[in-house]
Symmetry: C2
Subunit: 418 residues, 2 copies
């Protein structure tokens, strides 16, 4: 719960940053948005644990995505089922307690939180999203949350972005947020995004929490389309520990204060989409980089002639504890990749698969081939390591970003109830 | 690569030992079997790494199971496709190199190993099973294997069981083998089994290697039936790290030297099956207990009205790194079990599931309930921890045994190429 956002924001070779996009380090929220954080006593550390974010415009449009978990938490169910997902304008959030596996009482607390959010955001309950993150299976103290929201409500400002970010973090080691300016044909707009997540990460679309605000004018259907596409290329493609969370939520709010519109099927929409894509991909990779205890981020790409097999193979490699510990150890041990491929595709032996690591071909048609082992060892000790797998046929390709698995993951998860 | 087999052999509360079964600690191989191990220089440690096991009777029957991996290793393919699986009588095995991802040359080496096994076992190649275990993606030095088999062939004896066991081990910390006597209606027979495995363990039926010998007379069809059923209740129900191996092989050899026959659909068959079941279940649990770096073994049972959901849920819990690190830490953190259930069953929220740990109910119908936290904390710090999950409906039940996930797993897998 410390660590300023790293600079520059865009620092992964796996993110393409269009030339009409500029980082704006240290910027406040886009025009028309205010936020704050409060320490309500939910986190044992006494840190900020309740956040409030509001869009001032009644014309605000939105889009949202939620975890597919069968044990999705009450705040997810309340937001998903009782709010207007295309017209959200306030987000009330707490960390330190996920309000998950809390049954009917948890539903009541989530609803109460939604009510307090509406009061402080000067709107109706159906325009308030509620989100919780933290320990599962402990009843949430709603009094504390309401008090925190009252306090945050009095402190709302465009500069509150930092406190808001702090209030949503749990085991995160650094702030995962960015603000960018995007030149559209009609003028310049801003996009800001705050996310959190380090463990229990293999979203069926999103990390634990990600909030995006823009001062562009975006129709709700356009927001829905763009968030959907960009989430599929970012949070949907990462894994820290293969674990789908009970509380994943991603929300895009479009307030319109810039006066610049993103029209459907326009150049502006394409540019806005590319900018949102770069923003979310960098944040997704940041979540892997901050994966509990992680030293390195891997990217596995798989090509082949059968879509489901391509996807299964990429997930099997990215979630293999043997591949992940090898990445942690800076060990090119590609035999474990061969093993994970075989696990993903049972009953297909002998299978003609190819493996290259950082451009060094180590296996062709299922057969180990000689290569420069020293050069390879040096390459897998870098911050980002790329694995390319070829399966028979072509026409399909996918990628998954993943953290390594190291001692700190064990320490964090064996010694603390998170 | 040390550690005598623990005594008593049967020591898990999860194994039912019939009263007509007796352990025979320190016994040689059942009558009619001989084995040996040799140090052929494949393991860098210089330890025993080539093993040979032969049944003297030409009437020997057998049954076998293999990994379903799409990258199954050449020794698996050679045995599966070129041997008479109902009439095996010799097993040639090496450790230190899995002969996997080795392509056509790997197939040639496996075939050469089969030929040397046939020579030393005084039989034909199609009655020889070959098995390899160790590092993946490195060509096997067949000269060393052949020299090792020649040496082992000269040393064959019923007392060679210990050397044979040592020759199949890799990261195992103790010998996983047992010998039992079984009273059948027609007389007493012996069963001995040797197994190995500690990492890359989530067999689609079997661990890396398990060999079982008996002096009973068993028809090949009966051997096939009994091995199939017992493997489904033992090696098919364990996971160390969720990783299907390229080399899993389980073989039952029935030599007949006792003169006691196991007739189909007789009391004797039921007894023999129960004894084999107890033997393999204890070995399977031993593999979890010796899971790389493991402190504790967990057993998750799931009941519910939908078979595939019951199975998915059990696997999701048993393979969750969050559940496994909590088990390692002796932490009752059941919120992670709720999370794993939700991951296994997407799009079903709100789901009415129950969770009990060591008999302490912690969640009913998806709702956290008060319980004696101190009592629970003490119970999850024991060697064996049981998790019982209820899903809606009934009619299906399953179990999975699993290791915890601790620092030693990281150390073993990040620092060594295995």
């Amino acid at each position: 719960m410390s660590g300023a956002p790293p600079e520059p924001f865009f620092r992964s070779r796996w993110v393409e940053v269009p030339d009409f996009v500029r980082e704006v380090p240290g910027a406040p929220l886009p025009a028309g948005f205010r936020a704050a954080g409060a320490a309500a006593g939910i986190k044992p550390s006494g840190g900020l644990d309740v956040g409030l974010l509001v869009s001032d415009s009644d014309e605000t449009t939105s889009a949202a995505r939620f975890t597919r978990s069968g044990t999705a938490a009450p705040p997810v169910l309340v937001t998903r089922d009782r709010a207007r997902l295309d017209a959200l304008k306030t987000i009330a959030v707490n960390s330190g307690n996920a309000n998950a596996a809390t049954g009917g009482r948890g539903m009541d607390e989530a609803a109460r939180m939604q009510g307090a959010g509406a009061m402080m955001g000067r709107t109706t309950e159906d325009r308030v999203a509620v989100c919780s993150t933290g320990v599962i299976g402990v009843q949430l103290d709603g009094h504390k949350v309401v008090r925190g929201l009252l306090e945050a409500g009095k402190a709302l400002s465009a500069e509150g972005i930092g406190d808001f970010q702090q209030s949503i973090m749990t085991t995160d080691l650094f702030e995962k947020r960015g603000t960018i300016e995007v030149d559209l044909p009609g003028g310049t707009v801003r996009l800001a995004a705050q996310s959190k997540g380090a463990g229990m990460i293999q979203p069926s679309f999103a990390t634990m929490l990600c909030f995006v605000e823009t001062d562009a004018i975006v129709a709700a259907e356009t927001a829905e389309l763009l968030l959907g596409v960009c989430v599929k290329r970012s949070f949907d493609r990462i894994t820290v520990d293969g674990q789908l969370s009970t509380n994943d939520t991603a929300i895009l709010l479009c307030g319109g204060a810039s006066g610049v519109a993103v029209e459907p099927e326009s150049d502006g929409e394409i540019r806005f989409g590319q900018a949102l894509d770069a923003l979310l991909r960098q944040l997704a990779i940041d979540i892997c980089r901050d994966g509990e205890g992680a030293r390195r981020v891997g990217r596995v790409t798989v090509r082949g002639g059968h879509g489901p097999n391509v996807e299964r193979t990429a997930r099997a490699v990215a979630n293999s504890p043997l591949v992940k510990t090898a990445l942690y150890g800076g060990d090119p041990n590609w035999g474990r990749i061969a093993q994970a491929i075989g696990m993903a595709l049972p009953d297909t032996a002998p299978l003609a698969y190819d493996i290259a690591i950082e451009g060094v071909q180590v296996c062709v048609a299922g057969n180990a081939i000689g290569h420069d082992e020293e050069a390879l060892a040096a390459r897998v000790a870098r911050d980002e390591v790329e694995y390319a797998i070829g399966l028979p046929g072509d026409g399909f390709e996918t990628e998954v970003f993943f953290s390594d698995l190291g001692h700190e993951y064990i320490t964090i998860n064996a010694e603390y109830t998170t």
